[in-house]
Amino acid sequence: MPPPPSIGLVPLGSVDQKILRHLKTTLPGILPVSVQLLKARPIPLHTYHIVREQHNSTQLLEYLAQDLPPGMFKVLGVTGVDLYIPILTYVFGEAQIGGDVALISLYRLSQELDGRLAPPHVFWPRIVKSGLHELGHTCNLKHCRQPDCIMQFSGSLEKLDQKNPHFCDYCRIMLNDYLEQQGITNVSER
């Protein structure tokens, strides 16, 4: 049986190792992948918007995609800075649909609804769910309208907290189709 495909975890800027290790151990329990911690990369200055005091998520994704580590099925960037895309006030993360790279920001995920720091039992599921959601996009999955699916759009922390870290039946089938198209066989959700 071939080894599961690898997801490369790339910290962008300074990211707490505990968070990265949590993702490394949790993601393979949900997706048929192994996770490798890769070397941290600095955040390029040109992605910073001085007026918005945020980083352009699309530009950061392009930066990640420019220098892909070899042998990785997908790359998930993790950053502590706040992200935006030009038309939206902020985003929790972004991914290239059907592409190689995805990105999540810990900035808003680490906050409670009232602005205080979120406790670990709230914060850690959020990073796993955000990571799964964005990785789902890299596997060609769009936003899903099935309740309780990880690919459902969540525009607020409240909605993100309500979701479970699972793909619905439809998304799992489409995910498997995608993986098979990529030559990754004998996969099923664990």
């Binding site: 935006y84 895309i85 030009p86 038309i87 649909i97 769009k142 309208r145 759009f153 525009g155």
Partner: protein, 451 residues
């Protein structure tokens, strides 16, 4: 949670590339089909070639601003919902846009939830509107299908043919005398076909002048001719995914026959005054009371168009060939008109029924319907009497024997004229002659109309 029944098409119109890209990318992730335009003219061009369910339009754009574009879209594609996008400084414009028919406005940059909610709400409204149209059409169809009444052998054969033909996409030519119910047959085919949930668009080709028919069928661009104040979709466009019913197709001019033939071959056309080719997927059912083969011989109907239309031929029998259905039809119309006029008439005297059965009904089912309607209106008791059907009274066929042809014609015209309440158009229709000929004959025989 809303699950749209179809893929929604969105158009993002903004002069800033970065906004177009980021918004389109985000909406694609939501599963929408998104295209972009960088200025108003391009947006209008795209909207003329393709239907967009939702447009997101920037208020501030060079050359054509968002408000002007909104005005054009509302004229050109009134079904498209428009959401204006604006910066903080131009809220007044956004409010003005709402007054002019925009669905909503969003302040740039948008909040994640706000964008999602606005689009979801729009999709929900658009989906409900579509469902409403489909349901209305279905209710109307049920009514109409019920009007195809008859249990005689020719009608049972007709029902079988309808069911067989409905499953294919073949073009159908329905022929039959005036008043036999050709449109009802067409509607029944449509209702039973896989296109049954899509629109049934009927065009009475005989009712329009050449220019009007051209505009009705192909639509027109604003300013294409003097009265073209707005861009109008043609019935070919409206029939997309449904059925186009061309009634009285034998009445169209040679020029229109050429245009029509081209459209039937390619399903592509341009609006009058327009240049953008449009495509529409429709099934064609045509009908005529004319003898098209004779018209071909006379050179008034194109042979190639005839073959294009006459893939499947359905002749609808005249009422005199299915006399057994007369009581059933009479009862059907009696129930309807008694209910409409709120009169307690619930039966037909056997003598009246017998007279109806013996009458030839040159105007077919329509004539019978008119006769029952009239009898219900003038009837005094609970039962329709022979006296309520005066045109049937003097059907003294034996008395007519030996009379001259002219005398018989005079009597027949007088009977139909009376049955139609003195209405010249309806009388001419029943007699299958034009109004001018009817006037000549009325003058010749000294007959008077009520008007």
């Amino acid at each position: 949670m809303l699950i749209p029944h179809k893929k929604f098409n969105l158009l993002v119109v903004d002069d800033e590339l970065i906004i177009r890209e980021s918004l389109a990318g985000w909406l694609q992730r939501d599963g929408y089909q998104v295209e972009t335009a960088d200025h108003g003219a391009q947006a209008l061009e795209k909207a003329a070639a393709k239907h967009y369910d939702i447009m997101l339009v920037d208020v501030k754009m060079p050359e054509m601003d968002g408000l002007t574009l909104l005005k054009h879209i509302k004229e050109q594609n009134p079904d498209t919902a428009v959401v204006m996008m604006t910066a903080y400084g131009s809220i007044e414009d956004a409010v003005e846009a709402i007054k002019q028919g925009a669905f909503d406005y969003l302040l740039k940059p948008f909040d994640l939830e706000e964008l999602s909610l606005t689009i979801d709400r729009l999709v929900q409204i658009q989906t409900l509107a579509m469902e409403n149209v489909v349901l209305k059409e279905r209710v109307a169809k049920i009514d109409r299908f019920e009007e195809l009444v008859g249990q005689s052998e020719p009608m049972l054969q007709l029902y079988d043919t309808i069911m067989d033909v409905a499953q294919s996409d073949a073009t159908v030519l329905i022929t039959g005398e005036t008043g036999t119910g050709k449109e009802l047959v067409a509607r029944a085919i449509h209702a039973q076909s896989p296109r049954g949930y899509a629109p049934f668009i009927a065009v009475n080709c005989g009712a329009f002048t050449e220019q009007l028919l051209e505009s009705e069928l192909f639509g027109h661009e604003k300013g294409a001719f003097t009265d073209a104040k707005f861009t109008k979709k043609g019935r070919l466009e409206l029939a997309h995914s449904g059925t186009l019913f061309l009634d009285e197709v034998g009445d169209i001019t040679m020029k229109m026959q050429i245009d029509l033939l081209r459209v039937l071959e390619t399903h592509e056309f341009t609006r009058v005054g327009g240049t953008i080719p449009l495509h529409s997927d429709f099934r064609v059912i045509a009908a005529t009371h004319q003898d098209l083969l004779a018209a071909i011989q006379e050179g008034t109907f194109r042979r190639d168009l005839y073959y294009r239309l006459n893939v499947v031929h359905i002749p609808v029998p005249p009422l005199r060939e299915r006399r057994g259905d007369i009581p059933l039809l009479a009862e059907h119309f009696l129930v309807r008109y008694a209910a409409e006029t709120n009169k307690k008439i619930d039966s037909i005297h056997p003598e009246a029924l017998e007279a109806m059965r013996n009458y030839d009904w040159p105007g077919n089912v329509r004539e019978l319907e008119n006769a029952i309607e009239r009898a219900v209106v003038i009837g005094k008791g609970r039962q329709i009497q022979l006296a309520d059907l005066p045109f049937l009274g003097p059907t003294d066929r034996s008395a007519a024997v030996g009379r001259s042809l002219e005398e018989m014609e005079r009597q027949h015209i007088a009977q139909v004229l009376e049955a139609e309440g003195g209405n010249i158009s309806r009388t001419a229709q029943v007699l299958k002659i034009n109004r001018t000929t009817l006037y000549h004959k009325l003058k010749k025989y000294g007959l008077k109309t009520c008007n």
